[in-house]
């Protein structure tokens, strides 16, 4: 990294933030109880754990700022000889775009967190309207604030944040898919521009989370339009990966299983987002289980599967050993089946209008009708939990007993990290690596691999 000390500081600030966040669970009076969105006025008048939660957020945001500055500077300044922007692996593009999102979208939330902190600690009324009545009594604050201000500042971060979660996953999937299909990525430049466009557009869709706040037809239409536009680069990204698989002799290794499962799962997550992005259908679906289903299809079987695939894929890189294939396949198939049973029923329940914030939906007739799905979901969630045991066991035991890799590049990958020996020695490369060609140079007919770092063709 360009700034090693900053890197460490970023980690330790994150650590402190994490500890404070965990501590908020132990506060007298219970954990922070205003949901992850912390909408005021509820969050301002709720228990003390919310204050701890906000302080922790300030630490976490600071950590992410330091980390993203470091990532961007490293990627742009410290390129290997011969490396240029159009030779970056997609994973690097994804990470740099993510870092920009974090850098520019997080500060507004930090500002909002400071304002909410002031509301709670110093008694100001940034988010408290005049005439607020709590439990039948007038709330003692000056008033004149605006709860919608929080929603705007919050979603100004929280929408780009979704792309912060998904873009690195897309990058990981690209690496795994090209290596296991042994084909060049179909449309590298298209992919790069899609990612950049996606990153930029993610800044101007935030108010589609706020269609129900009564912000008016003009604004709703604007954000509906931008939301529809942002689905285009997402589809391009998926299509590009899909076309890479076309005609390839695919090796279904464990990382590849996760990467291929990512595609339909992310597609379900993305397509179910369309009814939410359209103002009319959102009226029905807003704040129901449908939203939860949509979002979690993107980040659970989407991002999480990509990241697990990434663990299996890069494990030989940092340990010199492969993780067990059989355990990996058990992990994959049980997780794959279970996770769909967790999130698919949410669409059914959401379509019936079950609210996302209820812990007992049977108090309403329409909720009671779908209670059986809730049982299915809970059971599947436990299955999913137990399905992670082989993974954790595998990860720890393979460190000592996993099958040793035959060479430094067990997946026939082309990107730079495989130029170092596996596991990498201190300082990674004995001599500086040089880049000779585009990433993902596989000969489509012979399947021959031409890594970026290999000087000779052949």
């Amino acid at each position: 990294m360009a700034f090693p000390k900053l890197n460490m500081m970023s980690y330790w600030v994150y650590f402190v933030g994490g500890v404070i966040m965990m501590a908020s669970f132990l506060m007298p009076g219970g954990a922070a109880a205003s949901g992850w969105t912390s909408y005021p006025p509820l969050s301002v008048i709720s228990n003390n754990a919310q204050t701890v939660w906000l302080i922790s957020m300030v630490f976490l945001i600071t950590s992410s700022l330091l980390g993203s500055v470091n990532t961007i500077v490293t990627a742009i300044q410290l390129k290997a000889k011969g490396q240029n922007f159009m030779r970056w692996p997609i994973h690097v593009w994804a990470q740099v775009t993510t870092a920009f999102l974090l850098l520019l979208a997080f500060p507004p939330l930090e500002a909002a967190a400071v304002l909410q902190l002031a509301d709670r600690v110093f008694g100001s009324s940034f988010f408290l309207p005049s005439g607020l009545v709590v439990s039948g009594e007038k709330w003692a604050a000056a008033g004149g604030g605006n709860p919608l201000l929080w929603q705007h500042l919050f979603w100004f971060l929280a929408h780009p944040e979704v792309y912060v979660l998904i873009l690195p996953a897309v990058g990981v999937v690209c690496e795994i898919v090209t290596a296991n299909a042994r084909k060049p990525l179909y449309g590298y430049k298209t992919m790069v521009y899609s990612i950049l466009f996606l990153g930029f557009m993610s800044f101007i869709v935030w108010a589609h989370h706020m269609f129900m706040t009564g912000m008016g037809v003009t604004l709703s239409s604007f954000f509906q339009a931008t939301t529809m536009i942002i689905s285009i680069p997402s589809v391009i990204i998926l299509t590009t990966i899909l076309l890479t698989l076309w005609g390839a002799s695919i090796r279904f290794s464990v990382p590849m299983l996760f990467a291929t499962a990512f595609l339909p799962m992310f597609a379900i997550g993305g397509l179910t987002g369309l009814p939410l992005g359209l103002t009319a259908s959102d009226i029905h679906l807003h704040d129901t289980y449908y939203v939860i289903g949509h979002f979690h299809y993107v980040v659970a079987p989407g991002t999480l599967f990509a990241l697990m695939g990434g663990v299996y894929y890069w494990y030989p890189k940092f340990s010199g050993r492969k993780m067990n294939e059989t355990l990996g396949k058990i992990h994959f198939w049980t997780s794959f089946v279970a996770i769909n049973f967790v999130f698919m029923p949410m669409f059914f329940m959401g379509s019936k209008g079950v609210s996302r914030r209820m812990y007992d939906q049977t108090v309403y007739t329409h909720g009671a009708a779908t209670q059986s799905w809730n049982v299915v979901m809970s059971t599947a969630a436990f299955v999913l939990l137990f399905a992670q045991i082989p993974f954790i066991y595998n990860m720890f035991t393979a460190w000592k007993t996993g099958k040793k890799v035959e060479n430094d590049n067990p997946w026939d990958a082309t990107t730079l990290e495989w130029a170092a020996s596996s596991p990498p020695p201190h300082e990674n490369f004995p001599t500086p690596v040089e880049v000779y060609r585009d990433p993902y140079s596989y000969s489509p007919t012979t399947g021959k691999v031409l890594p970026q770092f290999a000087p000779q063709e052949g």
Partner: protein, 106 residues
Amino acid sequence: MASEHMTLEEVKKHTRTYWVIFGALLVLTAITVAISYVHLPFFWAVVLALVVASTKASLVALYFMHLISEKTAIYLTLGLTAVLFVFLIVIPWMIPWAEVRGWFVS
């Protein structure tokens, strides 16, 4: 002119510029304070105050922060930031004021 490779003469020229800018900033500060004592109609007071502030800010950014001769990488970063900054500043006008005032009766 790359700030990394400057001759002694060029640096001296720069330092003279800095003091000129300092003078300009003082004058502009005096102007903006003077305007505030006139109590113009609110709209024009805002416009004038922002024009003066933007001028001062531009002087600081261009000359003290050397943005007048910076590298593309930095212009690109700041350009992106400027666009997103505009989105942020639009927020107050996105709030349905007529409705919000009706939500709570004081």
